[in-house]
Subunit: 199 residues, 2 copies
């Protein structure tokens, strides 16, 4: 699927973006040729699942598909609220928007919760080749998307998580994922292991 990426800061609540996503949530997709506007990450993924034939990401029996969707929700909602959101607010928003120092207790709490989530990934990968079962799925994409942001912001301590680390390292070497790892925020640099596919 070809696309042009347009950057949007949702907190600015621009009128133009509100027409694509009334709740001002990213991501949204606009296809002017077909007159299609879609918002909400999972609604967009289900749409592609229904309209694009090749490489399904929500695969298998109804029970397999429910397991994929459970894990997508776990990473999109729980991991995001526990880890990604506090890291983004403390390490990025406070620096760029509020020019204030991060809350070190909130950072410690988010790193402790990240550790619990990594133990759960270790457990899943001990029992299955990929997070939701025998093939890669939207669950792996959702998990890797959250983890890559948390890892960029220094919130992930990989020590003691060999299963999670090896799962993520396979992911980092995928052609679709490598370009993402070369992107940089303006003022915040990631730790040295961040884009290293052997780390």
């Amino acid at each position: 699927m070809a696309y042009d990426l347009v950057r949007e800061n949702p907190w600015e609540r621009t009128e133009a973006f509100g027409k694509l996503s009334p709740a001002h949530r990213t991501p949204a997709i606009h296809n002017p040729d077909r007159g299609v506007i879609l918002a909400d990450s999972r609604a967009i993924c289900e749409y592609f699942e229904e309209t694009v034939d090749k490489s399904p990401m929500i695969n298998g029996t109804a029970v397999n598909r429910a397991e994929i969707r459970r894990l997508v929700a776990l990473f999109d909602e729980n991991f995001y609220a526990d880890v990604t959101l506090p890291l983004l607010e403390e390490r990025m928003k406070k620096r760029l928007v509020y020019r204030s120092p991060p809350d070190s207790k909130r950072l410690r709490d988010s790193m402790r919760l990240a550790d619990e989530h990594l133990y759960y990934i270790d457990y899943l990968i001990d029992n299955r080749p990929w997070l939701a079962g025998s093939t890669m799925s939207l669950a792996d994409l959702a998990a890797a998307a959250q983890i890559s942001v948390a890892d960029y912001l220094g919130g992930i301590d990989w020590s003691g998580h060999e299963q999670a680390r090896s799962w993520y390292s396979v992911f980092k070497s995928r052609p679709s994922f490598r370009p993402l790892l070369s992107e940089r925020m303006d003022v915040i640099q990631p730790p040295s292991h961040y884009a290293d596919v052997n780390a």
Copy 2:
């Protein structure tokens, strides 16, 4: 679909419930006859959508279905975080668990945000018979589920929201919804209009 309802307080994080829902999120479904365990509200709804023939709740073209899922996310995530969660914490959890008075500023904020969500429902109902289009869908169920909790806790001011009120009043009179409206929490009573289908 026949079921027995089992009450669970997710904050108690019981080991038994963790086996059904590792993130200790409600709802979860256990069908011991088929050996099926499902967790996450949307994963469960998509599972029924795929396995039960009658009365689909995610209906129509791929674009229609994306619109239904966008609105489900809006109510499950945004309305919940803006309105339902603060009301539950301030009006229920503080009373039953912490025995402390509610934070009146947080209550006012949640009621102001509820008002914004009701304006959005007015706008949708001005343009369509049901929230996501021409037929009732999971979007209406998700919205009514959040609103009924907020309304029980006195967080909804219906004045000035005739479209939203008439949409919800049709919902309240449905046979599937009426039993829910007769349930009561132990110590908190709802406002007098709560279960009145003519209000």
